[in-house]
């Protein structure tokens, strides 16, 4: 056995990480996560540029790039006002959904514990249906109703799940109970409504980016930016919480306030997206697990989930618009994604047991 005489290079950060120098030390960045993030971001750019070329007035890639950066008249209008906002929305909303899912799945320690399954989307839907059936609906009113509905549902679920603290398990079950309740309320309201009203509510309920323009993006931009900052603040205590309440407490993290904060940030992320575009299912469920598997990381990477979520939503929207004959709302495409994801999950589980 040869002895390695070369002096070991002094490690500056834990194995498998890159050091990002900041004032006060360095931030360890997981190497593989960085790689996956870079690849995924490139994929997003490719899909985005492709999407900008597609539509009733096809353009070539050079034309698109020219139209983006200089005034090309009609082409710039198509790209800048019709197509780009939708793509930006898909990326931003997808990232928010992915991040929200990552936060919740880490909090509940369950890969299925995503906010749309636990019920916040259903509450938002209830709020929207109420506004549509009572007030006739207009974008702002419906969005406000959805936001209120989602947040109220989250508050109710939290309070009901609280018993000397909130455990992931209780949170999930209470969420399911409340979802079932609200889901039947929704069905009931739709049953009693006139067909046209029910239809327009159902359309909203399918989740679509077609009504999202620069105005809507502008309104959601600031809250989402604040929430992005909030997410970054909350990640480190959340990582400690992953180790169990006792270990987290021993490290100086107060479990309950952190859990509450994580839930607030997570719910706010998905509520804003739902308010702007209707409930979009399964991005929050699938993106975190896909990100985790790709980057082979410890726990669920929040940044990675955001990037994967952005990619999934963008891809889903492009598919819904250009691949599906007759164009389908993005929410329907994500349901199919969700179905495939669940089947893959099942096959995985089945294979593990046989």
């Amino acid at each position: 056995m040869t002895v390695n005489t070369r002096a070991p290079r002094r490690r500056r950060v834990p194995d498998g990480h890159l050091a990002l120098p900041v004032p006060g030390g360095r931030i360890p960045i997981p190497r593989r996560g960085l790689l996956v993030g870079t690849i995924a971001s490139s994929a997003i750019i490719v899909v985005a540029v492709t999407a900008l070329t597609l539509g009733d007035y096809p353009l070539t890639v050079p034309e698109v790039i020219a139209a983006l950066f200089s005034d090309q008249g009609f082409a710039s209008r198509i790209v800048g006002e019709w197509r780009l906002p939708r793509i930006v929305a898909a990326i931003v909303f997808g990232a928010a959904l992915g991040a929200s899912g990552a936060l919740f799945q880490t909090l509940t320690r369950n890969p299925l514990g995503s906010p749309d399954i636990i019920g916040f989307s259903t509450g938002a839907y209830t709020g929207a249906i109420l506004v549509i059936t009572i007030a006739g609906g207009g974008f702002i009113a419906v969005s406000a109703g959805a936001l209120a509905g989602g947040l109220a549902t989250a508050a109710v679920v939290y309070v009901l799940a609280w018993r000397n603290g909130v455990q992931g398990f209780r949170l999930i079950i209470v969420g399911i109970a409340v979802t079932a309740l609200l889901s039947s309320v929704n069905t009931f309201l739709l049953l009693r409504a006139q067909t046209e009203v029910a239809m327009s509510a159902a359309i909203w309920g399918a989740g679509s980016l077609s009504l999202v323009g620069w105005d809507q993006i502008a309104v959601t931009a600031i809250p989402l930016l604040l929430l992005a900052v909030g997410t970054m603040i909350v990640i480190r205590p959340l990582r400690q919480l992953e180790l169990g309440d006792d270990a987290a407490h021993a490290h100086g993290v107060r479990p309950e306030p952190v859990r509450l904060l994580v839930m607030v940030v997570g719910v706010a992320l998905i509520a804003i997206v739902t308010a702007a575009s209707g409930p979009i299912a399964f991005i929050a469920l699938a993106a975190p697990q896909i990100a985790r598997r790709l980057s082979a990381s410890a726990g669920i990477p929040v940044a990675g989930s955001a990037i994967v979520g952005a990619f999934l939503l963008l891809a889903a929207d492009v598919i819904g618009q250009h691949v599906v004959p007759g164009s389908a709302p993005v929410g329907i495409v994500t349901v199919v994604i969700g179905g495939i994801y669940l089947i893959a999950l099942l096959v995985n589980e089945a294979r593990r047991q046989l």
Partner: protein
């Protein structure tokens, strides 16, 4: 009795879970730089006391005092830099590597302004060296054996670099070789000047390693002091309800409890 100048002591505690009261008017003082071990039968309140000392459980009455101030008045991270805890059960996130998990123990020393520094790196390396897991550093914690995993958790607690370390039944589920290995590690830590408070279920291990032994029953402290002074067959009978003989441990000279066998008892009766 209570020495008011110890760093960590508890005054007149009432400890309860929901409605169930575990201890009342419990006072205890942890001698500085001692290796204190708390023993007692199941459900005697030893783990509860440890949890109170580590801030995990808020006493309904009385307070735990650290460095002259009530422990509840400390900011969470502040306290975490002075008192560390190796909990009984912890969860390891799926897919986490050993070196990452040990690194999580550095959290109390970090913040928005102070990210990962050389001190953190050194603390992690030293902790892994002390617990003999350096060659496991890239392995996933899920794949390790029970004994190895416990050493990783111990390393995480060590990386926290606290002068006072609380250990909640650290040797459960370990085979005897690993139990002794871990206890020897703690003894080394103690020799280096740290204060250790451990809950152990094995009375003989406790007698061997403790410099200060606390025997509890039904939420009360029955006796405390150096093992040589307090471990007698009378004490064992009173605390555990077990008939025994106490002899001198041939290896260390500390008291060793040898339970009486039934044949002997029947013969005597």
């Amino acid at each position: 009795m209570t020495a008011p100048d110890t760093r960590l002591h508890a005054d007149d505690l009432t400890l309860a879970y929901d409605r169930r009261v575990v201890s009342e008017q419990l006072s205890i003082s942890i001698p500085d730089q001692s290796f204190t071990v708390i023993v007692g039968p199941n459900a005697c309140g030893k783990s509860t006391l440890l949890r109170a000392l580590s801030r995990l459980l808020l006493p309904s009455r009385g307070e735990v005092v650290l460095d002259g101030k009530a422990i509840s008045s400390y900011r969470a991270k502040e306290a975490a830099r002075i008192i560390g805890l190796l909990p009984q059960s912890s969860i390891s996130p799926e897919g986490i590597t050993v070196v990452d998990l040990v690194g999580r123990g550095r959290y109390p020393h970090q913040g928005l302004i102070r990210q990962w520094t050389d001190q953190d790196q050194d603390a992690v390396e030293a902790a892994m060296l002390a617990t003999n897991i350096v060659d496991l550093r890239a392995r996933q914690v899920d794949e390790l054996s029970g004994g190895q995993r416990q050493r990783v958790w111990a390393a995480m607690a060590l990386a926290q670099q606290t002068p006072i370390l609380l250990l909640d039944e650290p040797t459960t589920f370990l085979d005897i070789a690993h139990q002794i290995e871990l206890l020897d590690l703690f003894a080394d830590l103690h020799s280096a000047g740290n204060t250790l408070v451990a809950v152990l279920h094995d009375l003989n291990h406790a007698s061997r390693y403790a410099t200060h032994l606390v025997a509890m029953r039904d939420g009360r402290v029955i006796a405390e002091g150096a093992p040589r002074e307090i471990v007698t067959s009378t004490l064992v009978r009173e605390v555990f309800g077990l008939e025994c003989r106490v002899i001198e441990d041939p290896a260390t000279g500390t008291p060793m409890v040898v339970p009486e066998s039934r044949a002997v008892r029947t013969a005597r009766a």
